[in-house]
Assembly symmetry: C2
Homo-oligomer: 354 residues x 2
Amino acid sequence: MKTFNLCFLGFGNVGHALVRLLGEKSAEMREEYGIEWRITGVATRRAGWIASAEGLAVESLLSGEFAAGSSSSQSKSSESSESKSNESSPTNVREWLAAARCDVMFEITSLEPLTGQPAVEHVRAALESGAHVVTANKGTIVHAYRELRSLALARGRHFLFDATVADMPVFSLFRECLPAARLHAFRGIFNSTTGVILEEMERGRTFADGVRRAQALGVTETDPAYDVDGWDAAVKTCALVNVLMDAPLSLDQIEREGIRGLDAEDVRAARAAGRPYKLVSRAERDAEGRVVARVGAEQIASDDPLAAAGGTSLVINFELDILPGLTLTAHHPDLRSTAYGLLSDFINAVRAET
Amino acid sequence: MKTFNLCFLGFGNVGHALVRLLGEKSAEMREEYGIEWRITGVATRRAGWIASAEGLAVESLLSGEFAAGSSSSQSKSSESSESKSNESSPTNVREWLAAARCDVMFEITSLEPLTGQPAVEHVRAALESGAHVVTANKGTIVHAYRELRSLALARGRHFLFDATVADMPVFSLFRECLPAARLHAFRGIFNSTTGVILEEMERGRTFADGVRRAQALGVTETDPAYDVDGWDAAVKTCALVNVLMDAPLSLDQIEREGIRGLDAEDVRAARAAGRPYKLVSRAERDAEGRVVARVGAEQIASDDPLAAAGGTSLVINFELDILPGLTLTAHHPDLRSTAYGLLSDFINAVRAET
């Protein structure tokens, strides 16, 4: 039995869902894996760097009171005076990790797609401090996968990211369950917002109606353009290519076309013909061994493995050297599914240590 | 880098495919996992217990010459004189494992559905001798999962069986990628033969035509009744319930109905209506926590997650506490896919030792 100090960098919806799930799964983690935990650090833009090596009160975290400095005695003092010692009042990520005596850092800030910063710098600091890092932030994979993988390896720490793509255990599947398998190609539907918008258009509503419905469902990024223009799908495609095909593809090498150009009538006609439009990601290794990837609207026939993904469901089809086709479909994943991706990475990062 | 002594108990189509795949993946296993291997034992009903701690010649194994005693000098002598020492001429599984200095035993004999014997006894002997066991034989799971799991745990050995169900990494997925997740229910299509027969009937051919076509494709068990009457699907369902739902369900507790009772006209009409018949396995935990399971023909709507499995493809849909639905589909798996299930288990059994 071992108690792990957990730090949350970013504390939005996913962070709240993770805290609730950790609570719910506590007994199981203790009994099955010998894992206990306490939250010793939370950092947000608004609240700053809050740390208490003795642990912050979970209830206060969930009610948002920590921002006002009431989550524990130690964090209270770190709120009330900014110029204390590093131990009690950290002013940057390294001081924060040290003050929290962090064992596992959850990097769950929102994505900065162009540079991946400051998340990359934060993950680097955490690995250098000797913490495992679990992230839901695709930016770190897209912009610094090789560097962070090497750093984690050199420090004997884990850098895990099953929560980044499609709300299914895709990366761990390849790492743990498909050793020595070769991935030739994949195709997938990775973006819920565009799925919802296209379905609304098929029902005769407008593109703008679709955006509003996706926002009401809570699946849309803050800026819908990020989903609609294919950025979200491209970033996920880029992460998959880098990790699963071990190809150093950058985001600007992915041909990218969103769904804005689609005509509403075409969208309805395609559905009526049983071949609806979806925003499809695809990557393939060409004859020279280079990986070519693109994101764009495609019509999907009813017998296509990707046809299973309606509504907010996500799907990925792999072409492997040892199995002609393997398809994984996540039906209606929610915030809890994303939180579980982080929880399972946490368990996998530390299960050998207990 | 470490060299592992491999023993094959049973050496039919799957064994041959595994030897070829091991050859193909040798460089990769060495470079990525530090694993080297040699085959030091082969046992079949016809050839007896053949062992050579120095290694048997792979080419001879594939050409079937080992049966005539020409696969290596040591096995030659073990063939030519039956009454030598245990080292050179084993007469039972324990002597064989010792003579072969077995590190990993592949148990790939064909299933004896009613008792699982003698496979269960062989697996027990291998684990007791200190070898890891990797099996494609569902009988060991259905009849002795708990005992063999405990024995493996007590000896610090692995007992792995990803090759037993649906030609996909289902057991390793739950073990490695879905820690602390709860499986409420599953549904699946696990039998290729009945899929092929039903599709032939949909095309206006007879049940007997369908059986012949499945046999021509090489997917049918020696006795087609085993597929047609739902035994194969029931055995796989039983294995999944025992391992993934941790429920000690026996084969006779599974309600089982095959496809013989289906009327050819009904089968055609169902397909025409877009809701074709499939042999579906399902299991669910009821309100009292007991698992109820059944195998039978069901009509599958086009938007059902199981609809993706046409022809010889296999599919399984999981209902989890952390994701409303997760579906895995293996499209057109072949002998090589089964062999890969064994290879990946071998890598996973030993990757921590190198």
